[in-house]
Symmetry: C2
Subunit: 257 residues, 2 copies
């Protein structure tokens, strides 16, 4: 049985403040926890025997065999699965991000945990290893984000920093800064580089004016038919995916040559 104190501890980790104090976060689900074990140190893991049987050695500091009712009580999900774990927060240093050599995603004020999780997941698909966020972007270790990543946090590192100075520093080194704008140039007619910074903005307001002023490559995803006037827009995760797919399609073409 999982103790009452442990259940209280796990539920408190829904709050960012508590996660930072304790230096840990929660992940749940049969595939997700297995993925996360390969990338994060595990403090506590509770699972049904059926899940444990699918794993080799489980590197958790504290391991608890649990039944349906245990998992239900400890879980933060509507539909609990067979395993739940508490992992230590990583200590990642934004100095390892190299937009002069790689395509890096930059998020300016993304609020919705589902959007952030979906963006981390698609970054993984497109081999983007680093995402740099403004400090007011949703926390990547919010349980809702962790669940939406479907395990991609095992491969993608997410950093929080003061965006303006981060972007300025790389801009002075000649790294291209891309963004999407309704008055931008057709994505499919622009030169896209293998490296650089792709900045995506807040769901309602887009990127901050101070950040926008730094972006020299203004992209636009053309609607269909092309040139059609529209007052609509795309969800930020959708826009991110279309732009990332196009960066990677071009790069794939170059490799074929």
């Amino acid at each position: 049985m999982i103790s009452k104190n442990k259940i209280k501890y796990i539920h408190a980790l829904e709050a960012k403040k508590r996660r930072l104090e304790a230096g840990v976060f929660v992940a749940e689900g049969n595939k997700l926890v297995a993925d996360m074990l390969s990338a994060y140190r595990c403090q506590f893991l509770a699972a049904k025997p059926c899940w444990m049987a699918t794993q080799g050695d489980i590197p958790a500091e504290e391991l608890q065999v649990a039944d349906e009712e245990d998992i239900r009580r400890a879980s933060l999900l509507k539909n609990p699965q067979d395993v739940l774990a508490v992992f230590y927060l990583p200590a990642w240093d934004v100095e390892e991000v190299r937009p002069d050599q790689e395509l890096v995603l930059v998020l300016d004020g993304i609020q919705d945990p589902g959007n952030l999780g979906t963006i981390i997941r698609l970054a993984d698909w497109f081999g983007i290893e680093h995402i740099v966020c403004s400090s007011d972007t949703a926390d990547a270790f919010n349980p809702k984000v962790v669940q939406a990543t479907m395990g991609a946090l095992a491969h993608v590192k997410v950093f929080y920093t003061e965006l303006e100075s981060f972007l300025k520093e790389w801009k002075t080194q000649g790294v291209p800064l891309y963004g999407t704008f309704l008055d931008g140039e057709n994505l499919y007619e622009k030169t896209l580089t293998r490296n650089g910074l792709l900045v995506m903005g807040n769901e309602g307001n887009g990127v901050r004016p101070d950040v926008e002023a730094l972006l020299d490559e203004r992209l636009y995803i053309p609607p269909f038919p092309p040139g059609r006037a529209t007052t609509e827009s795309l969800n930020v995760a959708i826009a991110t995916s279309i732009v990332c797919a196009e960066f990677r399609r071009r790069e794939g073409l170059k490799r074929e040559v």
Copy 2:
């Protein structure tokens, strides 16, 4: 003031059963309601004077000036805006869908209202006017879906039907049937037509085997680097957006020639 009975009526419309019985659905938000007024007959509309002042004649059977507290009590949202309205459900006939002449999106068992709303929104962006769903796909007039469409339901029609017979009928007429599969062929190397049926499947299980058996064009969104082995996948709305963007990019290229 909005009457207690009216508030009860509006809240009951969260349930699909009640929406079907009453033949109506709820939409909220300053831009969303304005968009919906252009496409659906309005039974009831409650708004603050500030919103009403931005509109011309408002074609609602019952119009109610409301204050902050009225809207808060009637609203189904966490963050209510200045206007809320009840619209009549449309009577759309799947016979008007012509995949021999247009690209039509087909959804097989999409469960998440956020995903469905996001897909309707991106369909609008890409000029896809018709979406045909299996009967177990989330209801397009679920308030969560309506909100996530951001008004796209004013331009895109969503149909519910028995998919297998719908798809079979068009297949016998030579219409191409596309789907995305982990063992499909590289999207960027396939011929894509201007018309056809693009089938996207359930979040966890993909398309049903009976439906899959009908699809002759199996697409795959290549990860990066190309050929990289991955056990991951993409969110269904993300996959839909990448495939739709590519269909429309190709069509745009043809128009330039």
